[in-house]
């Protein structure tokens, strides 16, 4: 490990701890009302869902429309597990974390199974398969006894407070980011770039495609578990096709392949509908128009493939401060060019 990477890890660690500290402070001090901290929990859940879907859709380049299906597997598994344990307090939290992992693992098993046809199918065909899979899961849950059927699962202990949810969200995003910057992540990216060339570079495409699906499903399952213990009541309808579409919209809007984009878009698209609550009648209209406008003016999503790097940003602004660099020089020269034309 060089000194530079060590420094950059330290900077990021401090930033993450500050962020987490703020979250804990906000919820514990009572600055935020229950309503607002609830929205922030939903933001965390959506971030986890979007970033994990970005792994298959953005990084592997395969459109998957069944993410809500994996989420529901995680949600029901975790909820049933904690209900079965029926613990509270610190032991309850231990059971809750166990339930999340269990939910994630079961979702990963299904992710693996759905990943297998993904070896043969690509693009639209795969999208339809995953869509069908999501609906099958929903139908099964709706018709089973132990899931509470159409009535749903009630009185799930609400373990997912803001500090817990934001902590899990930060860890998940951190792990996925670390994954994408390891040999496994590069292999997944290389399949998106050119699957014939990746084979010629010794990448086992089958293995890595399945791996991407499995990992994405795992984190969707964990997010589902957090959701179940936030909302308290589960119904199969919460995980229908439109939920999957909602997640994919976040991913596309943020930028395929950009985790930064997914995070920003998840925040925007969770908060925007809430902000527009005062204009109840026009809410969905404004939401849709915002989506259309962004897609017209930035079809690659808000961030394209760009990833934000704190270390890079700090070095940049330190240089600006020292007078070595003019701020937004790149932007300015681009604007100048446009006026010249």
């Amino acid at each position: 490990m060089t000194k530079k990477t060590l420094k950059s890890y330290a900077v990021n660690l401090i930033a993450v701890m500050l962020l987490y500290g703020t979250m804990v402070y906000l919820s514990e001090s009572g600055v935020l009302s229950r309503y607002y901290s609830g929205i922030l929990v939903l933001v965390c859940i959506n971030i986890m869902l979007a970033v994990s879907l970005n792994l298959t859709t953005g990084c592997l380049g395969q459109i998957a429309l069944g993410h809500a299906g994996f989420m529901s597997i995680g949600a029901y598994t975790a909820a049933l597990f904690t209900k079965w344990l029926d613990l509270s307090g610190a032991a309850g939290y231990l059971g809750y974390f166990g339930g999340l992992i269990l939910g994630g693992l079961l979702a990963a098993v299904f992710g693996f199974i759905i990943g297998l046809p993904a070896l043969r199918l690509k693009g639209d065909y795969l999208a339809i398969i995953t869509l069908g899979f999501g609906e099958i899961i929903r139908a099964i849950i709706e018709n089973m006894q132990f899931t509470g059927g159409a009535q749903g699962l009630r009185s799930i202990e609400q373990f997912s407070t803001l500090p817990v949810a934001s902590g899990i969200c930060i860890i998940s995003v951190g792990l996925l980011t670390a994954l994408m910057r390891s040999r496994h992540g590069r292999a997944i990216l290389s399949i998106r770039e050119d699957d014939i060339a990746s084979e010629a570079a010794g990448i086992n495409n089958t293995y890595y495609r399945t791996m991407a699906f499995t990992i994405a499903a795992f984190f969707a399952g964990v997010a589902g578990g957090v959701y179940a213990h936030y909302i308290g009541i589960l119904g199969a309808k919460n995980f229908n096709f439109s939920k999957s579409v909602e997640i994919i919209i976040i991913v596309v809007l943020g930028g395929l392949g950009s985790f930064t984009g997914s995070i920003v878009a998840a925040i925007l698209l969770t908060i925007l509908p809430e902000l527009l609550r005062d204009f109840e009648n026009y809410r969905m209209l404004v939401y849709s128009i915002a989506l259309i406008l962004i897609m017209i003016f930035k079809p690659s999503g808000i961030f394209g493939r760009y990833e934000f790097s704190l270390t890079r940003a700090i070095t940049y602004w330190v240089d600006v401060f020292k007078g070595k660099r003019k701020p937004f020089a790149a932007l300015r020269s681009r604007n100048n060019k446009e006026t010249e034309d």
Binding site: M1, L175, A178, L179, S182, R183, H184, G185, R186, A187, L189, S190, E193, D194, I196, A197, S198, E199, A200, A201, G202, I203, N204, N205, M211, I215, R305
Partner: protein, 255 residues
């Protein structure tokens, strides 16, 4: 140097439906040899590359790599056994950095697990550092080390061709298959490429089989030439013999 056979094919052939694209293809590449594969368009040159790299499965005949039969192996397994290739139309990982293009080819030489990567365990640091050093040293052979952080897509055409060869070399191949490495290059670039290929062969001690239409390059560096027409070998031998062979002149070179 010991003249050991590295790659042997016997009676190799493939049919697509009723069409015999390649038949009775026999070669015997010895260690460190540089062999040219030439022939008119549609003769089956690239098909042979696809057979040798496992993209197609032969319908007849055998391929032996260093004494091991490579029957029914996938392309990525063959890469691990020591056959690397480049493509006629460049296939780089365009939106990844030049360095990443090379380190991806070293993927199978690293051992650390999924969790090792996610949690940054010691193995991650050790292996990533070693691979980065290796990749940089390969890039420097091609004079690409200063472009390490550039996106592959932003490289000029000639350098993209070089990067593709660098990526193939990163897999530590015994045999390197180059599919028209000089396609679309001007004479200066072709000349530079010839020097690079000779240098690579010396430095890495590998066997090279190359497809090329640029006869100055083929005659300039190849020790042996195989001529293909309608999927069959019509001549093979030293460059001097090939250019004077009436069958080759009729089928490919012209007068």
């Amino acid at each position: 140097m010991a003249m050991e056979s590295v790659l042997i094919t016997k009676n190799l052939g493939i049919s697509f439906g009723g069409l015999k694209a390649v038949s009775n293809f026999d070669i015997d590449l010895t260690e460190g040899e540089l062999v040219g594969l030439i022939g008119p368009n549609g003769a089956g040159k690239t098909t042979i590359f696809n057979l040798l790299t496992g993209v197609y499965q032969p319908t007849e005949g055998t391929i032996t790599l260093q004494g091991k039969n490579v029957h029914r192996k996938r392309p990525d397994q063959l890469v691990k056994m020591g056959i690397a290739r480049t493509f006629q139309n460049i296939r780089l990982f365009k939106h990844l950095s030049v360095l990443d293009n090379v380190t991806i080819a070293c993927n199978f030489q690293m051992r650390y697990s999924l969790l090792g990567g996610m949690f940054r365990l010691p193995g991650y640091w050790r292996e990533e550092l070693a691979v980065k050093e290796k990749a940089m040293s390969i890039l420097s052979v091609f004079g690409l080390e200063m472009y390490a952080d550039t996106l592959a897509d932003n490289l000029p055409y000639g350098k993209q061709r070089k990067l593709e060869i660098a990526r193939a070399l990163a897999t530590d191949p015994k045999v390197l298959l180059l599919d028209e490495p000089a396609a679309g290059m001007n004479p200066t670039e072709t000349n530079e490429l010839m020097n690079t290929i000779s240098l690579v062969r010396k430095q890495f001690g590998i066997t090279i089989l190359l497809i090329e239409h640029d006869m100055s390059l083929v005659l300039g560096i190849c020790e042996r030439i195989i001529v293909l027409d309608y999927g069959q070998i019509i001549a093979s031998g030293l460059p001097g013999e090939i250019v004077n062979d009436p069958k080759v002149i009729a089928a490919y070179l012209g007068t």
